[in-house]
Amino acid sequence: MTQPDQQPIISISHIAKVYEMGDEQVHALRDVSLTIGANEYIALMGPSGSGKSTLMNMLGCLDTPSSGTYLFNGENVSDLNDDELAEIRNREIGFVFQTFNLLPRATALQNVELPLVYAGIAKAKRIEMAEQSLTHVGLDDRMDHKPNELSGGQRQRVAIARALVTNPSIILADEPTGNLDSKTGQDIMNLFNELWRAGNTVILVTHEEDIARHAHRIVRMRDGLIESDEANTKPLT
């Protein structure tokens, strides 16, 4: 999948994650290797307990592996501390959550501004970038609305605008249509397709085959291992 002349964005080799639950050791990930290149569109699938969520947290730099190495754009992120991981997340990763996770008291514009605040960007520039990002997802007329004044689909669009605003290396979407009706879900998936076409790298985490079929590569997890890693030759558009 990766272009040979291009450095992969994500390069995971032989990572494992072990949790201590009392006396018991839980192997969430046993031995996972994965490479993701620029402008890929990947679905990460698997039943609950398969290690899918753990791998997603790892990819999102919310967690570090117990063993193995994780290179993000060539930088080893396996041993970074809290604040260093926060910086990587801010710069490189755009999160889209199942429950949107917008700040309820802030307007759409302020929500999209938030990652730029943490990036230390000046206010005027922030507003300009946030407005651009909201326009991009078709919400130019809803910037001053608070989340409770927006529909589910609109809220998810705000979340996507927030994920895009820092121009991250990957967009990591965790069940992005899980809380939406199927029609709205379809609209959101169309938006992801557009983002991919515009050159973004998209990682979808889902347990729904219908959603996964939008991706061009499907990685299936089971018992802490990658069960299959195949190209989807007929992606839905």
Binding site: L62, D63, D83, N90, F97, N101, R105, A106, P115, Y118
Partner: protein, 414 residues
């Protein structure tokens, strides 16, 4: 954006948790109020009193059985002292050689003065004086004559009246030659006093002056059968020597043994000012200690509010961390919030404290025209600083708790 957002969140928390917040904020408010009101009022009074004492004349002093201002348990020490009788006072006059400006007087409050069908409120001060009173003390005659040596010797029922009394009794404002009744004794008015203003909220014009011999005969109250002696030195330089002579004379008259302490009090203006200063220090100490205590208790309330806030917003903290908030950002957000809460409570205390100081000053100004209302800026600044410190001090633990949350756990929090 982040600071103003944190401030809004803090105000929002107050609105949504009215009871808990208002109790905590009230506690901060009370603490700040105690500090500011006590400092403001004692400061204003001290300024005013200093001005009034200067009026008395700096080379006068007063001999009394007990000090002018007492506080604490000192009354135990004073209550065994024998009274200063009129005879002792007269003997004192004869013994003093350095000055003859010596006046004997006594005052008791709460008299009703009648004339015909008119009568005053039962709040008139009755003062027994001798012929030296007008030479030693400040009051001036507006009209008529002072009390004479003969009046005292003959125990004559003559009276001098203050302007407040004239106003209440005589609608035409004329008093000379008219008669008034004080507790069944009839007096002829022989003089009227210049209006004078007041000290510490008490009008000095609501008074009637009678010869000290009359006062002692009819009006000596059971709780204060002692007369006061005012002494004026002939010059400021003579004051220490005059005081020494006065102490010697009094000890002799009152038969103090060499090893006994003085069984009377000798107060110069400085001493009275000093007593008031001691009293204000005591008031300030109590008010500031209880104020700071209230603030410390409020700090625990603030910490509780912030811990609840962190708990309620765990998921939001998770989102912020996922979006790249470093620890310092989260710590800062919660500290701004707790400092805002403290300042909000402090603000109510500052307004209440300044308002109370103003009210007291306004009331006292009725009788003390030269009193100035002053905002106790030091106490205000102190309160703002302490509120900030409490906000930071008690907000620190909740803030670090928030910053230390695991983003994965926090995002999963319902």
């Amino acid at each position: 954006m982040n600071v103003s957002e944190s401030i809004w969140i803090a105000l929002d928390a107050v609105r949504s948790q009215k009871m808990r917040s208002s109790l905590t904020l009230l506690s901060i408010g009370i603490g700040v109020f105690a500090i500011i009101a006590s400092t403001g009022i004692t400061g204003t009074l001290q300024n005013a009193l200093t001005g009034q004492l200067a009026d008395l004349g700096e080379n006068s002093f007063l001999i009394q059985r007990t000090p002018t201002i007492q506080f604490g348990n000192s009354w135990r020490k004073y209550r065994k002292r024998p009274n200063i009788s009129l005879e002792q006072a007269n003997e004192f006059k004869e013994r003093m050689t350095l000055t003859n400006l010596i006046s004997v007087s006594n005052t008791s409050p709460g008299f009703t003065i009648k004339s015909g069908l008119e009568s005053t409120n039962p709040d008139v001060s009755l003062i027994g004086i001798d012929e030296m009173y007008f030479l030693v003390n400040a009051p001036m005659l507006r009209d008529g004559r002072p009390v004479t040596e003969q009046d005292v010797a003959l125990i004559s029922n003559v009276a001098l009246v203050g302007t407040d009394v004239v106003k209440s009794l005589f609608s035409d404002g004329k008093s000379l030659g008219r008669s008034i009744t004080i507790k069944n004794q009839e007096f002829t008015i022989v003089g009227e006093l210049e209006p004078k203003g007041g000290v510490l909220g008490q009008s000095q014009d609501n008074r009637v002056l009678v010869p000290i011999s009359v006062y002692v005969k009819y009006y000596t109250p059971w709780w204060d059968a002692s007369v006061d002696i005012s002494v004026k030195s002939i010059a400021k330089e003579a004051q220490p020597a005059t005081m020494d002579e006065a102490i010697g004379a009094m000890r002799l008259i009152r038969e103090c043994k060499p090893w006994d302490e003085n069984n009377f009090e000798l107060d110069g203006n400085e001493a009275i000012g000093g007593q008031f200063a001691n009293l204000s220090v005591a008031i300030l100490a109590v008010a500031w200690i209880s104020g700071i205590g209230a603030l410390a208790a409020a700090g625990i309330g603030i910490m509780n509010m912030m811990l609840v806030s962190v708990q309620e917003r765990t998921r939001e903290i998770g989102v912020r961390k996922a979006l790249g908030a470093k620890r310092k950002w989260i710590v800062r957000q919660f500290l701004v919030e707790s400092v805002t809460l403290c300042q909000l409570g402090g603000l109510t205390g500052v307004i209440g404290g300044i308002g109370t100081t103003w009210l007291v000053s306004y009331y006292l100004q009725q009788s003390m025209p030269n009193l100035q209302f002053e905002i106790p800026w030091f106490a205000v600044v102190f309160s703002v600083v302490v509120c900030t410190m409490i906000g930071i001090g008690f907000g620190l633990y909740p803030a670090y708790k928030a910053a230390g949350l695991d983003p994965i756990e926090a995002l999963r929090h319902e």
